[in-house]
């Protein structure tokens, strides 16, 4: 395991693992939103902006991992 191999491996693993959990989180937010829209279709307009906000926050963690990948 040469240092260059370890460096490339770390870069790849950082974004791979760091992208898994935010993806799960965004999926859970979307599924809860779909559930409540299905139960009450009139609430779509009220739900849309908070759902986008929640997704952006969950996405931000994946972006932190991406920035580390670029820095390394």
């Amino acid at each position: 395991m040469t240092p260059e191999m370890m460096e490339t491996l770390t870069k790849g693993l950082t974004i791979a693992i760091g992208g898994m959990f935010p993806a799960l989180a965004v999926g859970k937010i979307a599924s809860k939103a779909m559930e409540s829209i299905g139960r009450n279709p009139e609430s779509t307009d009220k739900l849309f902006v908070p759902m986008l906000l929640g997704m952006a926050f969950a996405e931000a963690i994946a972006i932190y991992a991406l920035v580390i990948t670029f820095i390394l």
């Binding site: 972006i63 991406l66 670029f70």
Partner: protein, 278 residues
């Protein structure tokens, strides 16, 4: 790297004296000039029945104030915070969308960077530079502190972080009150570090999104130049809008939290006084 990937740091293009002008700075200056021109065009349009450009500007302002009212629940507070939050929103939106115009990231000068001559683009999205987003984040957090001090007074605001007043109340109540007051004192000190976390998260979120979008579009355009980058450019339009919304909404939330008076022990004492009279 095969493709001309934009580096993490914005490249300097030329210098005016000792001030180096980077390509992200050129974009942000163009955005500021756009706002100056719009302000100049709107300077004496005060007709009661708006038409044309004044109508569009008033529609944008109404729309933004409506969204802000959902967070502040008070039109007067929205109007007070509107210069900061609305200004941040419009500036970030225009900067992000300007980064998608053709010519950004492609037209450049041939400069000697890192030992060999390469093409340095003269336009780059303004928020793809960490300096820009960090400056906006630091400004927003410091303004929220100043607004909090202006709204509820210096000692009450400092009491939110260094909870000396709560400590004294806890010692007066005695017993469990002392323990709770000590724990809250520790929590208050830790909240100071969360202010730094706010600055870091605000800046890195915006920087990461816009920079990653720029790299994505560069790589895609390098792979297949026609038609395939189109859905990704649509995604970038959406991402630019969403990140502007998230940044300004977060700044608004921080401002509102900083300016709400702490509901504290005065209410507890009032409830305790009122209870025996029932």
């Amino acid at each position: 790297m095969i493709y001309a990937l934009p580096p993490l740091v914005a490249e300097p293009i030329f210098s005016i004296g000792t001030f180096t002008v980077t390509n992200a700075y050129i974009n942000s200056t163009i955005a500021v000039v756009i706002f100056l021109v719009v302000g100049f065009l709107l300077r004496n349009k005060t007709a009661m029945i708006p038409r044309g450009f004044q109508n569009f500007a008033e529609a944008v302002i109404e729309f933004l104030l409506g969204y802000m009212d959902q967070v502040t629940k008070d039109r007067k507070k929205s109007m007070k915070f509107f210069p900061i939050v609305g200004g941040l929103f419009l500036f970030i939106l225009i900067s992000n969308w300007m980064g998608l115009l053709p010519g950004t990231g492609s037209f450049g000068r041939w400069l000697v960077m890192h030992g060999h001559t390469e093409l340095v683009p003269i336009l780059r999205p303004a928020n793809a530079d960490l300096n820009m987003t960090l400056a906006m984040a630091v400004f927003a957090v410091i303004v929220s502190h100043i607004a909090g001090i202006a709204a509820i007074g210096f000692f009450k605001y400092a009491n939110k972080f260094i909870k000396i007043g709560d400590l004294i109340h806890g010692f007066k109540k005695g017993g469990m009150g002392i323990f709770v007051a000590l724990v809250e004192f520790g929590v208050g000190i830790i909240e100071i570090s969360s202010e730094v976390a706010k600055m870091v998260s605000l800046s890195l979120r915006l920087f990461g999104n816009i920079f990653a979008g720029e790299v994505l579009l560069t790589v895609l355009a390098g792979l297949i130049a026609y038609f395939v980058p189109l859905p990704f450019m649509l995604l970038e339009i959406l991402v630019g809008l969403i990140q502007a919304i998230v940044f300004s909404m977060l700044v608004l939330v921080y401002l509102v939290i900083a300016t709400t008076p702490v509901h504290g022990h005065e209410e507890h004492e009032k409830h305790a006084e009122m209870a025996p009279t029932h």
